[in-house]
Amino acid sequence: MKIALFSTCLNDVMFPQAAQATVRLLERLGHTVAFPREQACCGQMHVNTGYYPEAMPMIRNYVSTFEPVLDGEWDIIVAPSASCTGAIRTQHAMVARTQGDEELATRAERVAAKTVDLPELLIDVLGQADVGAYFPHRVTYHTTCHSLRVTRVGDKPLQLLNHVDGMDFVPLPDADVCCGFGGTFSLKNADVSAAMMSDKMGNIKATGAEILVAGDYSCLMNIAGGLSRTRSGIRAMHLAEVLAGTRDEPWVAPATNTKVGA
């Protein structure tokens, strides 16, 4: 399959390991990955903070960058982030329409229909719950709100983790409760955000896991920031990083990257 990767802007500049692992995983499974260079940000932060006109250039850019998917340039677009996928699917057309650009809204809808989160690609499109991954660590999983309630990936990430060889998986209590990030919420309501994050950390620490996994570096950045500040010794990793390696060829993020949490 020809798969276009939307790395997301946060992964691009802060957490390249998520996108790198996605590339490795998909190539390992025999697919061709493309990275359309004009891609930038999906505009989620601007939309969620109420700045629709400012988000329009981002929406326009996403649509024009990935529109070739409709002509068969790629089979599908994957983003290793449920919140960005969710924003593309539920907000792009809505914002364009509110701003009076019906033409863009229609195009955005068609491109959005071709945009999936990583677990959706693996399970729904490729039909592959077992990706042959090996990850010999004690792991717990935070479901992330947008994967549960916007893109609705349901238990697909858990199906994937279930097949990972060597892993000691510990369920996270209250996994479906928000970690308190919420984009600009964490700045506008810093105290409440910190309180929510601290509840989340309590649950994570109670699992005794070495590594906290989630499908979105925005939530991970939040929780890992707290785990690091409290010297918990628990690392945060993206689902793709867990799935990327095999027993014969473990995956290690390029040395230029930052480990999160530890």
Binding site: P16, R37, A40, C145, V177, C178, T184, A195, S228
Partner: protein
């Protein structure tokens, strides 16, 4: 100079003298002091972040809330999961309410006509002041100085109790939790369980200090406390000549009203006194009698996790020789027609006040109802309060409410009438942003404008990615950025470390790896 310092300290909650005052008051009372009655129950005066800064410090309250909301959530889930057609019911509830809103004027007229035909007297109130004035004049004409009340959000919204008190009429709340709130001179912090922020020991202390006859309790067992409340209330029920209630729904087709409750106090108020005054928001209408079927399944399960609540009372006008012989219905607008004007926002008027959204909300769970600075807290409050008030000016504290959410979406999934709360939150954020354009831009305007161009171009992102490397200088050898004393970043780094940006952005890495492929 010193006074100025103290003043400054107090304004940001950092004056030790204030803490000790509050501690002393708490010691004296035996419970954490309640929230004083505000002039406007929809706008207590502070923004959400300001309110939350105080409530978050109340660790006892956080524990109480965590425990109580957890219990209700579990019960609700059990009772919802056993229904095979829950999603269809939600859809039906949503459509009935949408239909109601689309035909509200006609339905209200039919409703008025039916209530009148059956001997009721209908009054229309544009706002809180009119509603209070109408209620007061009815009570004053009866020459009584006390009334009994059924728990009602509509009367909380208009501050009826205070209005009556100023005019020498005592209004007794008869719902147990509402009574706890009233006795402790507090404000409700939840729309179904108003005293959810209190635990048993606090309730015991409140009863011992404030209940008539100053009872003493050996334990804080709920049964013992409830029996005392029962004895206290029984006297009120038997002597009161006038009762005031709200309504969970009003049926346009028949002029029937309904109250769903758990304790039977409502039934007492609705049947014993000679005169009944009901204050109902105009959006509480349902078109036909059959619609009750849907809401009777949705409401109790969502509110208290019961298949059916213990007491459900229906009444239509007056019935000779049975129940109140004089019935007044006050139909309250108080901003609702303003909400109607907004095509997206008006969905908030579908709300049946079950509180499922606040029970599941992780923001509510840690910050509590008082942080919202309105009688409508939680997710529904965050979209309803600013709309009822038509609040769009950033100086209005109510405009902080739509931002009091992480948009996690849990509220939408539990809402029995499918109000897409996250979507409305974003919509209101947009409305507020637009309404404040043209003035002096704030830090957010600048940041959002400034990043718009970079974040919509691959080339500019590439340059930005390279520039991010500068951040590595701020990080030490451990590649972590701890506390940054810059004003924007401090909210984040006060409680979290930030990893240093990578030496290479993904884009650059890709370019290096895939040079051959363009």
């Amino acid at each position: 100079m010193l006074d100025k310092l103290k003043e400054l300290g107090s304004s940001i909650g950092l004056n030790p003298a204030d803490w000790s005052e509050q501690d002393i008051e708490e010691q004296k009372l035996g419970w954490y002091p309640g929230h004083p009655t505000p002039d406007d129950p929809l706008r207590w005066g502070r923004t959400f972040p300001e309110g939350a800064r105080e409530t978050l410090q109340n660790t006892q309250m956080r524990r109480n809330l965590g425990y109580a909301t957890g219990k209700i959530r579990t019960k609700r889930n059990t009772r919802v999961e056993e229904l095979p057609d829950w999603e269809e019911l939600r859809e039906a509830g949503s459509l009935i309410k949408r239909n109601t809103l689309a035909h509200l004027p006609e339905l209200l007229e039919t409703f008025e006509q039916k209530v009148t035909e059956r001997g009721g007297i209908v009054h229309w109130a544009r706002d809180a002041a009119e509603a209070n004035e109408i209620a007061y004049s009815i009570i004053a004409a009866k020459g009584v100085d006390e009334v009994v009340k059924v728990k009602s959000m509509a009367t909380q919204e208009i501050n009826l109790n205070s209005y009556l008190e100023e005019r020498g009429i005592e209004a007794w709340e008869t719902d147990l939790a509402e009574m706890i709130v009233q006795l402790s001179h507090d404000m409700p912090s939840h729309i179904v369980v108003p005293a959810i922020h209190r635990n048993r020991s606090e309730v015991k202390a409140i009863f011992e200090a404030r209940m008539e006859g100053r009872p003493r309790f050996a334990t804080n067992e709920p049964r013992e406390l409830a029996m005392a409340a029962r004895a206290h209330l029984r006297k009120k029920f038997l002597s009161a000549k006038v009762a005031i209630s709200g309504a969970n729904l009003g049926v346009a087709e028949t002029g029937t009203l309904a109250v769903y409750e758990s304790e039977g106090n409502g039934r007492m108020c609705l049947t014993l006194p000679e005169t009944l005054i009901t204050v109902m928001g105009i959006e509480k209408i349902v078109p036909s009698y059959r619609d009750i079927e849907v809401f009777s399944q949705l409401l109790p399960r969502s509110a208290t996790g019961e298949r059916m609540n213990p007491y459900t009372s229906f009444w239509t006008g007056v019935t000779e020789g049975d129940g109140p012989q004089e019935f007044h219905l006050i139909l309250l607008d108080n901003g609702r027609t303003n909400v109607m004007k907004d095509e997206v926002g008006r969905e908030a008027l579908k709300c049946i006040r079950c509180a499922a959204c606040m029970n599941i909300c992780p923001v509510y769970r840690v910050s509590g109802g008082h942080a919202y600075n309105s009688v409508y807290p939680g997710p529904i409050g965050a979209i309803l309060t600013p709309q009822l008030l038509n609040a769009t000016d950033r100086k209005d504290p109510a405009t902080s409410l739509p931002f009091a959410s992480t948009l996690c979406g849990a509220c939408y999934d539990v809402c029995p009438v499918k109000i897409n709360i996250p979507e409305i939150l974003v919509h209101l954020r947009h409305t507020i942003t637009e309404a404040n354009r043209g003035g002096l831009p704030n830090a957010w305007d600048v940041a959002m404008k400034g990043t718009s161009s970079v974040m919509s171009s691959g080339k500019k992102m590439e340059r930005a990615g390279n520039a991010m490397k500068a951040g590595r200088l701020a990080a030490g050898r451990d590649r972590k950025i701890g506390h940054i004393p810059l004003p924007v970043a401090k909210e984040w780094t006060g409680t979290r470390d930030v990893p240093a940006p990578p030496a290479t952005s993904f884009r650059t890495w890709w370019n290096d790896e895939h040079e051959e492929t363009k």
